[in-house]
């Protein structure tokens, strides 16, 4: 964790004076279910990418060549929308406890 700043080092009123700073925060550590994707079955329809409320499914390529990659679990809250919309049912929600060592 970064060193916490003193009252004199931070902007007044709790202000955040830079854009896009939320990407620095990992907010996916409290999910109880994790979406496990079988990318070999995925038809790259992009419905999960478009409907993810936290924008945590990264993609590569453009146009017809666009492909989804593995979900970013440091941000994913485990809501299950991706598993629900997947037309080929290649995303399964599994208990997070199984992945915590």
């Amino acid at each position: 964790m970064a060193k916490l700043k003193s009252a004199k080092e931070i902007p007044i009123g709790g202000l955040i004076d830079e854009a896009g700073s939320s990407s620095k925060f990992k907010t996916g550590d409290w999910k109880s279910f994790r979406p496990i994707t079988d990318l070999s079955k995925c038809i790259q329809c992009m419905q999960c990418v478009c409907l993810c409320p936290d924008d945590c499914i990264p993609t590569e390529g453009k146009g017809n060549d666009i492909k989804r990659k593995e979900t970013d679990f440091s941000v994913c809250k485990g809501c299950g929308i991706c598993a629900n919309v997947c037309p080929v049912k290649c995303i399964k929600m599994e208990e997070e406890a199984k992945f915590i060592k």
């Binding site: 007044i12 709790g14 955040i16």
Partner: protein, 387 residues
């Protein structure tokens, strides 16, 4: 150059607002404040000001709207009273927490229940710990000048300011008020250059993010030195305004305090009543004085202690109570005197709740009882049965 007008305290506030020409004024009507917005709405309709006046559905919305507009960089003013201030309480704290320079006219009125539309200070006292600077005004002239100071002070310190006046007594009483030249006042007010505007796309900012155990304490603590510093700024800005109006703007008005045997400490219109009592009693050879506070938040502890240190008998007149505790003004004066190990007589007198009149004779009797050692430690002026 000034023009003398026979106007009410509410109209004096509206006239100051006309000269300030705020960008946004969100408001909801409540007695006895309504007349401020009624007068100001006329200025808006007639194109005298360029203000965007937003009629909202409640005071909670009025202050929410003020917060949004102020964070966007607008110069924002509003007004309220009593239950209106109570309803916006949540957002009143947001305004100061976000360090937004909003100026609000508070026309002091009792809080319910029983329901009552007349003057006491329980409304603004209920918000005394929320981080707003609070200025109190004895007369309509002070309402006008405090409002001009308030806008400068708020924008300099990035703290919100309340300008308080007594409901009906000041707000609806007609007095001669000197309104100074528009151009001169506009020059004094200057332009509002807010450094963290939400609309500045070249410098993107986020207002009001979540801060938990890691940063909330640090952020809140920044308000403490800002409040302390605003005492100095108030005096500086007041001195600048004196060059236009010729009126002094001290933290405290000291009337006949030097060598006084007894002094009354109070705020708002009752200070005027006390002045008349002092004039009458001085003719009888009695040495009595007045300490009037113009600023309740931040509280000028050092200055109050310095002013009262040689006075042997003091009565603090509060127009509100703090149930189960000492009344607010008495409590602060006692704090101030503790620091200098004051060993005289200090009394608390609560008066005027719900608009109960206080007359010159009441003040004279309080002074006489204080001088004769007959005043109780905690007394209630004009109450039919003492608690």
């Amino acid at each position: 150059m000034s023009k003398e007008k026979a106007i009410t305290g509410n109209e004096a506030a509206a006239d100051a607002m006309r000269q300030i020409n705020p960008d946004v004024v969100p408001a909801f009507p409540i007695t006895p404040q309504t007349a401020i917005m009624q007068s100001f709405a006329t200025y808006v309709s007639n194109g005298v000001v360029g203000t965007e006046m937003i009629r909202v559905e409640s005071e909670h919305s009025a202050m929410s709207c003020a917060v949004g507009a102020s964070a966007a960089g607008a110069r924002v003013m509003t007004a309220t009273s009593s239950a209106g201030l109570a309803l916006m309480w949540e957002i009143v704290g947001v305004a100061s927490g976000l360090r937004l320079p909003i100026v609000m006219e508070v026309v002091n009125r009792a809080l319910s229940a029983p329901i009552n539309i007349h003057c006491d200070h329980s409304d603004s006292m209920g918000t005394r710990d929320l981080g707003w600077i609070q200025l109190f005004s004895e007369s309509a002239q002070e309402v006008y000048e405090n409002t001009l100071i308030a806008i400068r002070l708020a924008e300099k310190m990035l703290l919100p300011v309340m300008v308080c006046q007594d409901g009906f007594i000041t707000s609806h009483g007609v007095e001669n008020v000197k309104i100074f030249d528009d151009q001169e006042v506009k020059k004094f007010i200057g332009e509002h250059k807010y450094p963290y505007s939400l609309l500045d796309i070249k410098k993107p900012v986020t207002h009001g993010p979540l801060q938990l155990q890691d940063y909330y304490f640090e952020t809140r603590s920044q308000q403490i030195p800002a409040m302390a510093e605003s005492i100095k700024e108030y005096l500086k800005i007041g001195e600048e305004l004196r060059k236009i109006t010729g009126n002094e703007h001290p933290l405290l008005d000291k009337i006949n305090i030097d060598g006084a045997d007894a002094v009354i400490v109070t705020m708002n219109s009752t200070a005027g009543t006390t002045k008349t009592a002092i004039e009458r009693m001085s003719k009888e050879g009695k040495k009595v004085g007045l300490l009037k506070l113009r600023m309740f938040r931040p509280f000028p502890y050092k200055e109050v202690a310095e002013a009262l240190k040689d006075v042997k008998k003091i009565a603090v007149l509060d127009r509100s109570v703090s149930f189960g505790a000492n009344p607010p003004l008495y409590s602060e004066v006692k704090n101030a005197l503790f620091d200098i190990k004051y060993d005289g007589k200090l009394h608390s007198c609560v008066f005027g709740l719900g608009g109960r009149n206080i007359f010159i004779e009441d003040i004279e009797k309080t002074f006489n009882d204080l001088l004769d050692g007959k005043l109780e430690k905690h007394s209630y002026i004009g109450l039919r049965q003492c608690p």
